[in-house]
């Protein structure tokens, strides 16, 4: 079983991101489970959501505290939240950022991929400059980083589940799939 934790801010579509990925992964043949950590949500406040995938029926009904991988929808969360808490060594961190963080040491022994999902979202007129809707771009980057689900399943999930302008969202996902930068394993030499 693979467990993934998603970090975002209220209003960024973090819960929807995990749900859309669950749809895409299910199409690709996985058993899936996704759910939010339901707190007292406010716009801009940190939000967590979880995704599990497996080849057999998923029985765990608990929050994800030791994730295999982590997705961060908002770079500014790095200042306030330990997004790597409990993350297994070697696990991926997918980070939405315009420039890579100057200090990579916090990601030591993990693999990192970065994507400028905000820029991609704006290019496709998803959301506004102050609050771009980045979740479908993040889907494309996720699919490339994880090498699953296939883009055809990502696209089908968006077309079926996104009510507003699905084609712009598909285009954002496809562009992020191409543009995501796979930095790979951060070793001790990268720590400075």
């Amino acid at each position: 079983m693979i467990e993934i934790r998603f970090h975002g801010r209220g209003g960024q579509g973090t819960v929807v991101l995990t749900t859309l990925l669950a749809h895409g992964l299910f199409k690709a043949g996985y058993e899936v489970q996704s759910f939010p950590f339901f707190g007292v949500e406010r716009r801009g406040a940190p939000v967590e959501a979880y995704l599990r995938l497996d080849k057999k029926k998923i029985l765990a009904r608990t929050n994800v505290t030791a994730p295999d991988h982590v997705v961060v929808q908002d770079q500014t969360l790095l200042n306030s939240i330990d997004v790597t808490k409990g993350l297994k060594p070697g696990g991926w961190i997918l980070l939405n950022c315009s420039t890579p963080p100057s200090d990579m040491s916090r990601f030591g022994n993990n693999r990192v991929a970065i994507v400028d999902a905000g820029r991609i979202a704006l290019k496709h007129k998803l959301g506004s400059r102050t609050s771009p809707i980045v979740n479908t771009a993040m889907m494309g980057a996720f699919a490339r980083m994880m090498e699953t689900p296939p883009m055809k399943d990502i696209i089908a999930a968006i077309r079926e589940e996104v009510p507003s302008d699905p084609e712009a969202n598909v285009a954002a996902a496809q562009e992020a799939y191409q543009e995501v930068v796979i930095l790979g394993l951060i070793t001790s030499e990268d720590k400075k």
Binding site: E31, S34, F35, F38, R61, T62, N63
Partner: protein, 389 residues
């Protein structure tokens, strides 16, 4: 067809497929997604039902008393304080023998104000005359909601389908949604045994003197007993069509088990995981999942637990001055056996606190390592509290 659905959405799909004619609801977290989807279905004509928005849960159930008395199939959903506010009408519905179906999404009662899962809301309604069925995953939620209409209408008692907040209500997972024509074969349109009719006017629920009240209550008691056998029959019919059955209880590797963990709701799924691990290590452990709480499945419980040495009941609820509600009921059920297992009552996960495999394993080990429970209720995972002076 299997679709990835939220637990709340699984409820809404079942209600749509059940051809419910009147829905009334007042929104409360974590029930909201259920009634949002249903009201959308009603607005868009995907359900041919009237949706009655109301100003409180008390009015909500009162509206359904009217609608169901007029002879239509009805539904509502609520949680926590909302269910508590319905309390007076809960008694009314069952004694008026109205087969209303309700979903309660288990949420803690305040204060402290808490929106997360806790079974005390539904379990504290145990004496209201409602059948209660607890669910473990999205598929069981859909199946049980469909079965609930059949069961309610068969015995003329209301049914409460119960699911955990968030861990089930807000969790997306694959759910097989049956076709309308298949559901219609299982659940035909509603034909009431009695209903208000202006062409043949009479009064429902009039004054009943001591000369008849007791017989009415006895008749309700018989109907509740009958619900046990009817549920089994309805499940058989459902399984013949959809190939899924759950049972009033489910006993997993209880036959040779020395210790049996008793669970309900989503804690059951996580316990299944632990059970696999413990069995792989050679531990003689079993699991008893409680689906049906009213009527209480005494015979099935005795059959499953009778050979065990110890039973650990995990309650995500509490009755003050008594203990965990499932533990109390299990103890009462086992009393009829000449030789009984020792029952340990554990309280865990109140107010939505996570019940992990580590916590469940701690419960198992505590039970294995002690001969007798140290207290009536053993609270698991309590933090040290610093009190203000």
């Amino acid at each position: 067809m299997k679709r990835v659905l939220e637990g709340s959405h699984a409820v809404a799909e079942a209600v749509r497929l059940a051809n419910v004619q009147v829905v009334s609801a007042y929104p409360i977290t974590p029930q909201t997604h259920i009634v949002e989807i249903i009201s959308d279905y009603c607005a868009k004509g995907k359900m041919n039902a009237k949706f009655i928005p109301v100003e409180s849960e008390h009015s909500c159930l009162a509206a359904l008393v009217g609608a169901q008395s007029a002879g239509v199939r009805t539904f509502t959903a609520t949680s926590s304080q909302g269910l508590a506010l319905m309390h007076e009408i809960l008694h009314w519905v069952s004694a008026a023998r109205l087969p209303i179906v309700m979903v309660d999404v288990n949420r803690a009662l305040g204060p402290g104000w808490n929106i997360w899962t806790d079974q005390t809301d539904s379990l504290s309604q145990r004496d209201t005359g409602w059948i209660q069925l607890y669910c473990e995953d999205g598929q069981e939620v859909l199946d049980t909601t469909l079965q609930a209409f059949r069961l309610a209408e068969r015995v003329n008692l209301p049914v409460m389908v119960v699911l955990d907040a968030f861990f089930l209500s807000h969790t997306y997972e694959p759910v097989d949604v049956p076709e309308q024509k298949e559901v219609d074969r299982f659940l035909p349109s509603y034909s009431p045994r009695f209903n208000l009719d202006t062409r043949n006017p009479y009064t429902l629920s009039p004054l009943v003197t001591p000369a008849f009240y007791m017989e009415m209550r006895h008749d309700m008691a018989l109907a509740m007993d009958e619900a046990m056998t009817c549920f089994a029959e309805i499940e058989e019919e459902y399984a013949a069509l959809f190939n899924r059955r759950y049972g009033s209880v489910e006993a997993v590797t209880c036959d040779d088990a020395e210790i049996i963990l008793v669970t309900s709701g989503t804690i059951t799924s996580t316990t299944r995981l632990l059970l696999e691990e413990l069995r792989a290590k050679g531990e003689k452990v079993g699991l008893l999942k409680m689906k049906m709480f009213r009527p209480f499945p005494v015979e099935a419980v005795c059959r499953a637990l009778g050979r065990a040495k110890k039973v650990a009941v995990i309650d995500r609820n509490f009755s003050f001055g008594a203990g965990g509600v499932f533990a109390q009921e299990i103890k009462a059920a086992l009393y009829k056996l000449p030789v009984r297992p020792t029952v340990f009552g554990y309280i865990a996960g109140l107010g939505g606190r996570d019940v992990t495999t580590d916590i469940l394993e701690e419960i198992y080990i505590k039970t294995r390592e002690t001969d007798l429970p140290s207290q009536e209720s053993i609270w698991i995972g309590l933090q040290e509290v610093k009190y203000a002076n």
